[in-house]
């Protein structure tokens, strides 16, 4: 059900912030921005937004209850499988018309530094998090990243299917929709410097798991049959029919929510009275590399009450930080994985706390 692309959206969206920047490309090409251009535009835009103070209004028109979910792109497969998220923020009106998000960078590009990301701030019932920024892990081999990846499949969103479980995020440039509202809910950017001053290393998010309650029973078979590229796993069936429907999505926070919404939209389109309740981030996983080997034996001895290191069981040291309540997996190579966070700030804080400790156990 792809409607014609609505390119006017892009200029409208970009207009507020691009006063001094070069005008956006012509609408017909907006879906085909090269990676650099897209990144440029987003950066410019977000730099503007970084100056904004405070939170965006909780009820942006974008996500008000009046706006039906048919705004959203669907790009998900099996309800229970992990999502692949797209860096899409815009919504479409009517059907499955594709949304052009090409102006947004794919934050999973291979850049090492933080990419500020537009995050959707809206929530229906609860404000699950206000994420200031996310940066993505560029080097994970599991993630299939890169903006221009799916450009051939611009017109048909359904053709942009991603292998559901392994890839975290994929780019999906989509056409804009003229009726869609401007993206008003931008998460404020907290300055990057406060995080990275101490060591210059910032943990990058690997994965975010969130759940949302669709509040209706689903017929999985029907979904599997009707939605393209949805896998039907019989095991999942009973779970769904017994419980309130929950979805799990992986990926960046904003995209997590968006993917969830898209998914809810898919379900809705298939006739189920899906709602979007209780979107909650369950877990966030980040990782980074301190770039020096760490002497774990020393660490486990001095921080006995927090750490456990059983090399025959697991090659990494498991460090349970109390404040913030994060679990860190520290490896001899210097790689650190942080998990158990509900907010990105927790991850950064935890890493800042552990870095001096790790430095003291640096293996020369």
């Amino acid at each position: 059900m792809a409607s014609a692309p609505r390119p006017e959206r892009a200029p409208r969206l970009l207009a507020p912030c691009l006063t001094r920047y070069p005008p956006p490309p012509s609408p017909t090409t907006v879906g085909f921005l090269s990676m650099e251009e897209e990144e440029t535009y987003l950066e410019l835009y977000l730099n503007q937004c970084a100056a904004q103070d405070g939170l965006a209004p909780p009820r942006s028109p974008l996500f008000s209850p009046v706006v039906p979910y048919d705004m959203y792109m669907l790009n998900a497969s099996n309800p229970e499988t992990a999502f692949n998220l797209n860096p899409e923020v815009k919504e479409t009106s009517g059907g499955f018309s594709p949304v052009d998000l090409s102006f947004l960078p794919d934050e999973l590009t291979q850049e090492d530094k933080d990419q500020p990301v537009i995050g959707s701030k809206h929530e229906t019932k609860e404000n699950s998090e206000s994420q200031s920024q996310q940066s993505r892990l560029p080097s994970s081999s599991e993630q299939d990243i890169g903006l221009g990846l799916n450009s051939p499949s611009l017109s048909n969103p359904h053709s942009q299917r991603h292998p559901s479980d392994t890839d975290l995020v994929q780019a999906s440039p989509e056409k804009p929709d003229s009726n869609s509202l401007p993206l008003a809910s931008i998460t404020p950017m907290s300055p990057v410097t406060s995080v990275s001053e101490c060591c210059g290393i910032v943990p990058q998010l690997q994965n975010i798991v969130s759940t949302v309650n669709l509040a209706c029973k689903l017929d999985l078979k029907k979904i599997a049959l009707h939605a393209k590229n949805a896998e039907y796993n019989p095991k999942v069936r009973f779970l769904i029919s017994l419980l309130l429907t929950k979805l799990e999505c992986n990926g960046a926070i904003s995209q997590s929510r968006l993917a969830a919404r898209k998914y809810a939209r898919v379900v809705q389109k298939l006739g189920f009275p899906a709602r979007f309740l209780d979107f909650k981030i369950q877990n966030m996983v980040g990782s980074c590399d301190v770039k020096f080997p760490i002497r774990l034996e020393g660490l486990v001895l001095t921080h006995q009450q927090f750490s456990s290191y059983e090399p025959e069981l697991f090659p990494g040291l498991i460090y349970r930080m109390v404040k913030p309540r994060i679990v860190l997996l520290i490896f001899v190579s210097g790689k650190v994985v942080l998990t158990g966070a509900k907010e990105r700030s927790e991850i950064c804080e935890a890493f800042e706390n552990i870095y001096p400790i790790l430095k003291s156990f640096k293996k020369a």
Binding site: A82, V236, P293, R295, Q304, P315, V332, V337
Partner: protein
Amino acid sequence: MVVFGTTFFNFDSFIGKTDSIEVTGKSVFSYCYHNILPLLNDSGRYSLGDARRPLHETAVLVEDVVHTQLINLLQQAAEVSQLRGARVITPEDLLFLMRKDKKKLRRLLKYMFIRDYKSKIVKGIDEDDLLEDKLSGSNNANKRQKIAQDFLNSIDQTGELLAMFEDDEIDEVKQERMERAERQTRIMDSAQYAEFCESRQLSFSKKASKFRDWLDCSSMEIKPNVVAMEILAYLAYETVAQLVDLALLVRQDMVTKAGDPFSHAISATFIQYHNSAESTAACGVEAHSNAIQPCHIREAIRRYSHKIGPLSPFTNAYRRNGMAFLAC
């Protein structure tokens, strides 16, 4: 107090690639010892090289000991299992056998909890598993902990077993091992440390199928289930660790130190053993090596089995099969 090194075992060769004991290049003790301060020399030099390649004989002996102990343990567990009328050896049986020694039981419980915890964390990171977790209704979370808790609940008469769950006492043996490792690693360079870490990661549980074959449960009627096998792998590892700890103590004792007030009190049997032709030959050849020698191991076992207590004249009657388990 003199410190000494420790050994870590390459379980690959321990279990053997063929039926016979095949000692690979790294040999059984893959990352062996550094004597931080050699017992004889005050200059503080420590030896590398030789000590990193443990003796073949020692490896053979240790394997033999561990194998025997595990088989015996299995058989006792099978008996316990039969008493219950069960068809498989469950972790409960093994816990039951260990009920007497609180410290070791506590160590085992801690190990099980850490295993659960690690699975939980790794599952949280690896999203592929999340789905299966939801499907199973998170039955698997803390599975081992539940097993242990339920079982100890059922057999606990005096409340001391259950008290172990809340017990936060430091495990001295574990502490000693950690300190030893820390001392060793402090002086290693990066390459050595990398090798050391690699060798520490070896365990019986990594090659579960090989371990199973090595144990050779095929002749038994009752076989252990998965969690029981995990515990057995852990017990095997513990046995080796205990043997090493004890052997190092023995080795330390063997050397007479000037000014040691108890040098006159070394037991007669020990001196005899030490002076016997067999052990001298064995020890004499590797007099300059810092590897643990078979004589140390044997002496350690002898001392361990030799219970000195009010009922020691009657000990054989109290030990069902005469074997003192190192791990439990």
